[in-house]
Subunit: 202 residues, 2 copies
């Protein structure tokens, strides 16, 4: 059985839980309290030297970090990964876009505002990151105005990766009012077969 | 023929140039001066709504953004991607690690210091990002103390992705003195078949 070390409110941790569920793979969830530093203990660093959740432990005990690497690994051989080479490449593009241009802004602002109580302390940085978060939403809006899912007509790993923090963006103060295609897409993703809401636990 | 829009000193732009070369694919390079805002013009935004280089245009005219998505696309069917599912997953892990935990620190500090003339303006942020850059080098040192390449015995796309900005980290003020396994690995990567130095052009 797989073991998933995660933090319940984390979108990054929801991603592999969602995919394990969608693939019908039973797994054990071990809650890691990142606010208490539980992802930086010597024991946890032995599992993931980068000190982050999620951390996936395979049935044979080997470990894998990085939520989008888990999506690619768990999604192999399924319809979540397009068989067309170009569509597959575009799916990769969105996975890296998510980690570079979306998560550091939308997820980080939400974390500071909602979970870490740092809305005041990080005030100026939140202003800057919020602008970049809206830029990411603009890129998504443009794509989702042209196709029902991020990579064409069918859901892929890209939709799971981007759903994670987009649907909770308002918790970080983002308004989705000007992003109607994104809002329709968020609804659409919840209807995809295998979808489970976030948080998976808790 | 492929067309690659890139900025010569950029490690992210070197990655797909290196892989096109390694796969024996001829391509056209179009230099984009990011300091002059050439990646944010209306014409360029029509190619990449996220306003970044590199941007790869396939022989049929379709486009692909995100350097590591290009590596995965161009590397398909080659020995640069491990055939073993777990090693392949670990390669994905490093590709996301590079974009989330390495590039925003090591590449960004180098860009500010060496290319954008912002060493003074960004002084405090450089201190913070330098610490995180060293943390990323520490994760690499640990892995490269255990195996010659990031994912085991053979070079993979992960080595290309991490070589890009690690080998120019000193240009951003990083010292590799305490990272002997990283230094040996940097030498090792230059001996891999198909390797070309950075910058590819210029």
């Amino acid at each position: 059985m797989h073991t998933l070390y995660g933090n319940a409110p984390s979108g990054n941790c929801w991603k592999p839980a969602m995919m394990l569920h969608a693939r019908g793979l039973p797994f054990r969830w071990i809650e890691v309290d990142i606010l208490k530093g539980e992802s930086r203990t010597p024991g946890f660093l032995a599992l993931n030297p980068n000190g982050r959740v999620p951390l996936l432990q395979l049935p044979d005990g080997r470990t894998l970090a990085e939520s989008n690497a888990m999506l690619l690994h768990l999604g192999e051989g399924s319809a979540w990964i397009p068989s067309d080479a170009y569509l597959r490449a575009k799916m990769y593009e969105w996975l890296f876009f998510e980690q570079y241009s979306h998560e550091p802004y939308i997820a980080t602002v939400r974390f500071w505002v909602k979970h870490a109580g740092k809305a005041e302390e990080k005030k100026q940085e939140i202003v800057e990151r919020t602008a970049r978060g809206y830029a990411a939403l603009g890129v998504m809006e443009r794509a989702l105005g042209a196709s029902p899912f991020l990579v064409g007509e069918r859901p892929t790993l890209a939709d799971i990766a981007l759903y994670a923090y987009t649907h909770v963006a308002p918790e970080g103060g983002f308004s989705l009012d000007d992003y109607p295609a994104v809002r329709r897409w968020l609804d659409r993703v919840t209807s995809v077969q295998g979808f489970v809401p976030m948080p998976f636990f808790g």
